[in-house]
Symmetry: C2
Subunit: 293 residues, 2 copies
């Protein structure tokens, strides 16, 4: 399959590397410099002590996007705005797959002309260490759900994309799938970003664990969660599995980059407002992370 991947951050590089094993992948980078480096050097993936390298076509212009059979959008959530006009120009039969965190961008996708749109949640840990190298720090799964199109779409693409080393799973409802991820992101990401700690610290440090409970309580209120204990346990077990990792938001804060706080906590604040649910720690977290940007 001819696959185009827009965005060469940690997730873009990770997907480009794995999918290029069986597919013809083109990576669309924002910076010409990065496109040139990858186009000549390929993409390096480090996992444990092993470094693997694959040749991958990379370019800066998006003019070749039209020939793809799947376009994966792997830019940060807040960058969707800056590429949405490119996607509008694509033929309406090209399937799109969006891999952003949060749910703040879903409204923007409504305007797209494409008839097949998938959403994906990525549970891998990945860290871009240079323009052409990504460290695969946590082995996980990618879930796909249909945002627009026939119900079989998710299952079809899961079959086409999945391999043993890079698994995909279909999900029935995109809202449930995105919400599940958002709950985790809303608790782990802003806290680790504010405290500048690894995910594991949230459960190892009793004071931070208490903060997790405080934040979760408000997230659960906003989503009107029913099985709170199970949901909280799910977050705890993700902290356990990814104990040594820094969350993407924490890494963004370390490197002085814009974070995804608007799409994650910003979205929850809008929801709280819409439902007239009172929250106080979420606005605190929002402003604390926003202020570091």
């Amino acid at each position: 399959m001819k696959i185009g991947i827009i965005g060469a951050g940690s997730i873009g590089l990770l997907f480009a590397f794995y999918l290029s094993e069986h597919h013809d992948v083109t990576l669309y980078c924002k910076r010409k410099e990065q496109a040139n480096t990858i186009d000549t050097e390929g993409v390096k993936l480090k996992m444990g002590e092993t470094v693997l390298q694959r040749k991958i076509r990379a370019m800066c212009s998006t003019k070749w996007l039209v020939r793809e059979q799947l376009v994966i959008v792997a830019v940060k959530q807040y960058a969707i705005q800056s590429i949405i006009h490119e996607l509008h120009k694509l033929p309406s039969e090209i399937p799109l797959l969006f891999l952003q965190n949060g749910m703040g961008h879903l409204d923007e996708l409504k305007t797209l002309p494409q008839t097949s749109i998938l959403l994906g949640t990525v549970e891998h840990g990945a860290l871009r260490v240079s323009d052409d190298q990504v460290n695969h720090t946590g082995y996980g799964i990618t879930k796909l759900a249909v945002y627009r199109g026939i119900p079989e779409l998710a299952e079809t693409f899961v079959r086409k994309l999945r391999t043993k080393s890079f698994p995909f799973d279909p999900a029935d409802h995109f809202e449930t799938m995105m919400k599940d991820k958002l709950i985790v992101n809303a608790v782990i990401n802003p806290l680790t970003a504010l405290l500048r700690v690894r995910n594991g610290q949230l459960i190892a440090n009793p004071y931070y664990f208490h903060l997790m409970k405080i934040v979760f309580a408000e997230v659960a209120d906003v989503f009107e969660l029913e099985n709170r204990e199970r949901e909280f346990h799910r977050i705890v077990s993700i902290c356990e599995r990814t104990a040594e990792n820094y969350s993407s938001m924490c890494k963004d804060v370390f490197e002085g980059r814009k974070t995804e706080i608007d799409g994650i906590v910003g979205y929850l604040l809008q929801e709280a407002d819409r439902k007239s649910i009172s929250v106080s720690v979420l606005p605190f977290l929002y402003n604390a992370v926003k202020g570091t940007e």
Copy 2:
């Protein structure tokens, strides 16, 4: 006047330096090494580009305390516990002056045998940069109020201690004085410690300014403040005056030391609990700072 100062942190060094101009000061240090350094080298004070130096007697043992005409306690609030037994041993006629932040230690002072006890709030900015050097980073005033003893006590010691370069002022009620300081500390210290920024950032960064408002609202609730606008304005003007300074709590976090969070936010949480006032951001701040210790 023979003055003993217990504790050679930033405040202890600052007071030792200024008071030794007109008084016979002995500085009591916890570490023998520091006592030796100061006893031989004196105390250096840096203000702007100027460094001044004064000979000051320093010792590690507190056995000479009995000859003093005033004993100033300049240890951190949480360290009161570890020296309170020494104070119990002092003749009851020796006046004591406590310079701690927060109000969590006031109960402990009740048990002391001394008939004259003063409390002081320090509005200077001071940073200890080595065992024998303190940088005077913000010129301010020290307020004195009577905790126990005749009402004239504050006025008497203000007259004895104040100089042009190191002013003192009497305050009528120790509770009001301590509360005024606590309100400022409760807003500025935990926020700057958590965000790791200078005081000025709280007003320069619009998101952090919003956090200040959120925290102040809860502090004002706990203290049932009446003139909220004036109180908030007072905090803002302190941030303006000390814009380039890091708060003491922020410095403690930077250097991995224990902070005064228990005496400041911990005290507010107890008060909130006692008065059944609902707070949510203060417990968050408490646990966030506590977790870094």
